[in-house]
Amino acid sequence: MLTLDALYKGFRDPEVIKSLAKEIKLEAAKCSDKINIMEVCGGHTHTIMKYGINQLLPDNIEFIHGPGCPVCIMPKERIDHAAALASMPDTILITLGDMIRVPGSKGSLAQFRADGCDIRPIYDPLDSLKIALDNPDKTVIFFAIGFETSTPMTAVLLEQAEKQQINNLLFHINHVLVPPAIDAVMADPAAKVNAFIGPAHVSVISGAKVYRAAVESYDTPVVVSGFEPVDVMESILMITKQKSRSQSQLENQYSRAVSEQGNLAAQGLVNKYMMVRPNFRWRGLGPIPDSALMLREEYQHRDAEVVYKDKLPQQEIDDHKACQCGDILRGLSKPKDCKVFGRGCSPETPLGSCMVSSEGACNAYYRYNGVTV
């Protein structure tokens, strides 16, 4: 049994955080160049803004908020897919968490639910099994989202559905991969990023090894970091130390859960059911080759994209023209540089990817810093 206080105890100690802030300042003073750290994952963006970590750092350290939020990166056409599937008669669409809030071109899944579609947000993908068993006369479609962290859960669900021969459970796969997103950000010649905080949850599954290529290709430090304030501060110190010594290494701050190789059983399960998709359009960033997964051919009978191909809209839909999410995700702009931030674009009526989920950069700025600070 899990004891709840074990989840955060010790990782929010004010004295430890203050002492790390002091050390970071001393170390950063030795650096001649500015340190532009991309926190790839929206969870880190959330931590930084929620706990005001950016306020504790010297001026020569800046955060650039990366594309790693599974909700934020979902292009409108994929949400339109979900809405089209949910609108079919005798269909139940299941998805995770705040995916239900994200607007597609014809509205969010929450709006479609209010209009009568059976759309159910769940906490655990395996809940889909019970829903499918309880509704044998309906088609249950799991709109699967998330980075490497949540992909194994979808694989486990598919394995269970196969084993138990639950034939009315289908999948719409939107699982995406972190390393190609890093490559897409760095491919821009104007990219300012010169260090990365690697997402801990992704690394628990995929292993710290997945960031070695970034360290070598871009000559930047990568530190795999936990999500608590102490974790993030310690990771920044590790990056700053590397910078002050002109090093570029892969380091693992989150060693309490991340290994070099990751969870091999989970990786095996994912590979059994899924393969790399040739192309996937990211909201804000556009198409990125080999950046997402799809079901293998032998499981096409469960692939809603194949089974209902004729019913799914094919048109690609970009964010609003005034939206600067692409530049924000590449580190070329800050949320407050965007003309529509807090005006036409807010958490209630988001125009762009960064405002849609609570882990998006614009959403975090708006929520914790407001429009005027």
Partner: protein
């Protein structure tokens, strides 16, 4: 389909005939008995003298029974607390039930007895009511609406009445009801003694008023939690509020659960926790009275009213940074990773 009429509520129980009469007499009248109700008139005949507070609330909680309470306790405490927060002594309540066909009679009795027990804590009486039975699938077990009226004893309490240099006091640890419901709903396998804070607040409010504490604003932090109350106050009174995170009591269970789901304890619902704004020179006296009463042992000063950023609530972290404490938005849904 059950054929045992006595064990579950049938559509006929809402039909206005014998079955309905029996249900009302055997369950509701028995539990809520008082002379006004016993008159069985179309309306309760009441007498008011002076300013009167009037409020209504509907309760649709799932699950109906949770650690620390049930929908019945909630329906009484919720309405009584709305009156108490206006400085009004709760007097008369109405109670309307919408019951789903097939609902177990024993569960209905448990809920009604829970309501009767909670009424005793404030002395309020249910003087009128209504019962509807809807076909299976049209309601989630039981919905209850309660309305209430109360005699206003302290007239100065208002959401628009916060003054610069007032202190903000919270009566106990926050977020328990929202967290308890979440745990009951999701059946989380975690070690926890977590119970809802669901409670009637009139006894403590009565003490504060009797002790002549100058209360500028008072509100129970129900849906939207502490964040919603502080933001409503800052906006309505056009003042700034600064709260110190380290002073806000949060149980380890609630804090841990929030970590699991990506929630903030400040956003979670409470059903027996209230927030006060009092002048600084009343703060110690207020705390002393509160801390001698049950449920308020953890009462604490958590912040201050100021003229910095009117309409906004700023939360200071224990390590020297600060941020806006915004109102929660939309459904509370767990983060994805």
């Amino acid at each position: 389909m059950s054929t045992n009429v006595s064990k579950t509520v049938q559509l006929s129980h809402g039909g206005g005939g014998k079955e309905m009469n029996r249900l009302i007499k055997d369950i509701f009248f028995k539990a809520f008995d008082n002379p006004i109700l016993r008159n069985e008139e179309d309306s309760a005949r009441l007498h008011f003298n002076g300013d009167t507070a009037f409020t209504t609330d509907s309760f649709t909680v799932a699950p109906l029974f949770f650690a620390g309470g049930d929908i019945g306790k909630l329906a009484i405490a919720g309405t009584v607390n709305d009156l108490a927060m206006m400085g009004a002594e709760p007097q008369f309540l109405s109670s309307s039930f919408i019951i789903e066909e097939g609902f177990p009679i024993d569960s209905l009795k448990t809920i009604v007895l829970s309501m009767a027990a909670e009424l005793k804590k404030s002395g309020a009486r249910i003087v009128c009511g209504d019962t509807k039975v809807v076909p299976r699938g049209c309601a989630d077990g039981v919905f209850i609406n309660t309305s209430g009226v109360g005699r206003i004893i302290n007239n100065g309490i208002s959401v628009k009445n916060l003054k610069h240099d007032d202190v903000i006091i919270v009566s106990r640890d926050i977020g328990r009801h929202g967290a308890a419901i979440l745990m009951a709903r999701e059946g989380l396998a975690v070690e926890s003694e977590l119970t809802s804070d669901c409670a009637t607040l009139w006894p403590i409010v009565e003490q504060l008023i009797a002790s002549n504490v100058e209360i500028h604003a008072m509100r129970d932090a129900t849906r939207g939690g502490l964040s919603a109350v502080l933001n409503e106050w800052a906006s309505a009174s056009q003042v700034g509020i600064t709260a110190n995170e380290s002073e806000i009591p949060v149980s380890q269970e609630v804090a841990g659960l929030c970590e699991l789901y990506g929630f903030e304890p400040f956003d979670l619902a409470n059903e027996g926790t209230f927030i006060l704004a009092v002048p600084q020179d009343c703060a110690e006296k207020t705390l002393q009275i509160m801390q001698t009463f049950c449920h308020c042992e953890q009462a604490a000063i958590i912040g201050k009213v100021n003229d910095f950023k009117p309409g906004k609530v700023i939360l200071n972290t224990p390590w020297g940074s600060s941020r806006f404490l915004d109102v929660p938005q939309g459904e509370l849904l767990p983060r994805i990773c």
